[in-house]
Point group: C2
Chain length 152, copies 2
DNA sequence: CTTGAAAAGAACTGCCT
DNA sequence: AGGCAGTTCTTTTCAAG
């Protein structure tokens, strides 16, 4: 586990708010020089605290207006079954996230589609044909709010 | 909806892979000049196709080793109930994502905690005391794979 | 749409306290 | 660890084909 001081936490808060702002801006906000701020940011990357930056796409504007969460229960659950399922599901382009979870369902999938009929195609042709699939539960996303989450 | 040509899609693919690479690198990979690539990237931002960049934090290394998905069913579901719930849940720092969904549950929450006992504290003190909360289902995250998703 | 050049700014490096 | 000065690289704008 990585230990951060107060300054590092403030830097992370700023970067979570806007990952594109330069080290000089961060420094000015915290009363640090540009190199000092830059060195700390670099250290946050090197230590693995920051894994990288992800592009935030507007899938709706790109023609994918439907997002559905699928809870998937496997019929058979050996190690091979899990591997097979994960390999097969990773080949479906409409699947954005594959989450292996503990609970009523074994996997949670985030799936995007152009519209409901496009989603039906993905569900019938792609999801239901995955190896070992048992029960499937679907939840349509209405709206979503992402928050910074706790830091330190 | 935004129309993209093949080149724009290739640029998005590259940026999804690594959002930090400069326009010159993108251009070289696609056989475009640096200003041409830069202009296209800029256009993708201006058109709203790219909403921005998000910092990808390693919460595990930052001391938050437990991620739990909560399905929440509201006991009462008027407009005021939804607003009240969303406002209250947004004030909990451990909640990373609030998803309003259609299905068996009304909301899906992504919650991070330091460990299981810390999660129990969040669940009992924060989640179960939210206004209008009915049934709650929990799923512990074992592993997660994020994929680029469909582009165009 | 492209190239090339130039200016502005950010990232990175050494050296110093 | 932080600051200062200087170098390198990217971004951004401009002129022109």
């Amino acid at each position: 586990m990585i230990a951060l001081d107060t300054t590092d936490r403030l830097i992370l808060r700023e970067l979570v708010r806007d990952a594109t702002q330069p080290a000089s801006t961060i420094g000015r906000k915290l009363g640090l020089s540009q190199p000092a701020a830059w060195r700390r940011i670099r250290r946050l990357y090197d230590s693995g605290a920051i894994k990288g930056q992800r592009l935030d796409l507007d899938h709706e504007r790109l023609g994918f207006g439907v997002t559905v969460f699928l809870g998937v229960k496997l019929a058979t659950k050996g190690r091979v079954s899990l591997d097979d399922f994960e390999r097969a599901v990773s080949a479906i382009p409409e699947v954005q996230t594959v989450e292996h979870i503990l609970g009523l369902y074994d996997y949670r999938l985030r799936v995007v589609a152009r519209d409901i009929s496009d989603f039906e195609r993905v569900l019938r042709r792609r999801i239901m044909t995955l190896p070992g699939v048992g029960d499937v539960e679907a939840n349509v996303l209405l709206s979503e709010e992402r928050r910074p989450g706790p830091i330190g």
